[in-house]
Symmetry: C2
Subunit: 192 residues, 2 copies
DNA sequence: TATATTTATTATCAAAAGATAATTTTTCAA
DNA sequence: TTGAAAAATTATCTTTTGATAATAAATATA
């Protein structure tokens, strides 16, 4: 199971057998059921996550409505803002599917980086990449209207679009489920 | 002038006198006139920036329209995506005001980090912070409608709201200048 | 398989945004 | 200071989205 983590890390830096052993023995792997909550609004996050299988969504509760802002799938890391800032979380993290997740904590991560210093260069690279991704995501969100955003999502994130119920996607696209339904109809009418 | 850079760095890590000297002699400071273009669509970025004074905007050209996606002011760094990925830029960087900017390049940055290794921990921290900011920015953009976004901008970025022409702000908020004008009117009518 | 629950679509009406053009206000330079 | 250019507002009309409720389709479960 933790092969996946090793594979992931190896994409960025090369690990010796000894280092692989260290990563293996460090890693705490947990299973979560669908709809289990990893983090709730108002809590202090003490953990970060690397998804081995399954899907997690982040959502805010606004006027009693859930507003999804991110979906995380296999091979993606979740570092809650609350984890980084030690402030109370403003959003929830909840499993959309049964999940298997590698869970990190401050102490364990520190220990790991001490034992394998070059991991910090991995983190540097990953953060840089994540920052770029977020930037592009935000730019796209501003530059395109809901219909264009939905088409882009279908194109670039086909997997996600199929795994996640439409009403969750709608909120992720910044619109209501009803509006997304209309958009889908409009598109299907245009393409015939 | 490069006091500003030293001050900024010192907020994250402490520098010895010798290290301050190194930063000083490394740094290349340039002046730009209003409307000068730092980076154009289709170009390969070879530089990154730290703004000492002035204001820079990032914009995409979409169907002949300029769509602003970011504004950068004093004490902010600009690391073009093109600079990180070595791919052609999809957006422009252009000065909204006369600017004084510290310019970094791959070679010079590498040299600097070699001479002052702890700078890499600064970059790590900065990237982490920038990632969080972007995440929150994107979340807010999704969670709020144009009027709410404008009000939030006024509240949290008063300085920017006053420095930047409304029609630039509009595109940054993801709406047209006409729509922003209507929003402003609506707000002013409500508050009396 | 039947039934309850969840998910997706449709209909109606109101509110907001886009497109376009005209006009007013502000800014800046000759 | 005045005249041109830039920026902001207003008006009109169309399109899209939001809110709400009803209905239909799909999925899960007893």
């Amino acid at each position: 199971m933790d092969e996946l983590i090793i594979n992931y890390i190896s994409k960025y830096i090369s690990l010796s057998d000894e280092e692989i052993r260290i990563v293996r023995e460090q890693n705490l792997i947990r299973q979560y059921k669908k709809n289990e909550v990893l983090l709730a609004e108002g809590e202090l996050a003490t953990e970060c996550y690397f998804i081995l299988s399954g899907c997690v969504r982040a959502y805010y509760l606004i006027d009693g409505e859930e507003r999804n802002t991110a979906f995380y799938i296999e091979n993606q890391t979740i570092t809650p803002i609350s984890y980084q800032t030690h402030s109370f979380s403003e959003y929830y993290l909840s499993c959309l599917e049964d999940c298997i997740i590698a869970v990190g904590s401050d102490e364990r991560n520190k220990e790991l980086v001490e034992k394998i210093p070059k991991l910090s260069s991995l983190i540097l690279q990953m953060n840089g990449e994540l920052l770029m991704q977020k930037t592009v995501e935000l730019d796209d969100f501003k530059n395109y209207n809901p219909e264009q955003r939905y088409l882009k999502l279908l194109e670039k994130n086909t997997d996600l679009a199929n795994r996640v119920p439409l009403y969750h996607l709608a909120s992720y696209l910044g619109i209501t489920q009803v509006s997304l339904s209309r958009i889908r109809k409009r598109i299907s009418l245009q393409h015939r």
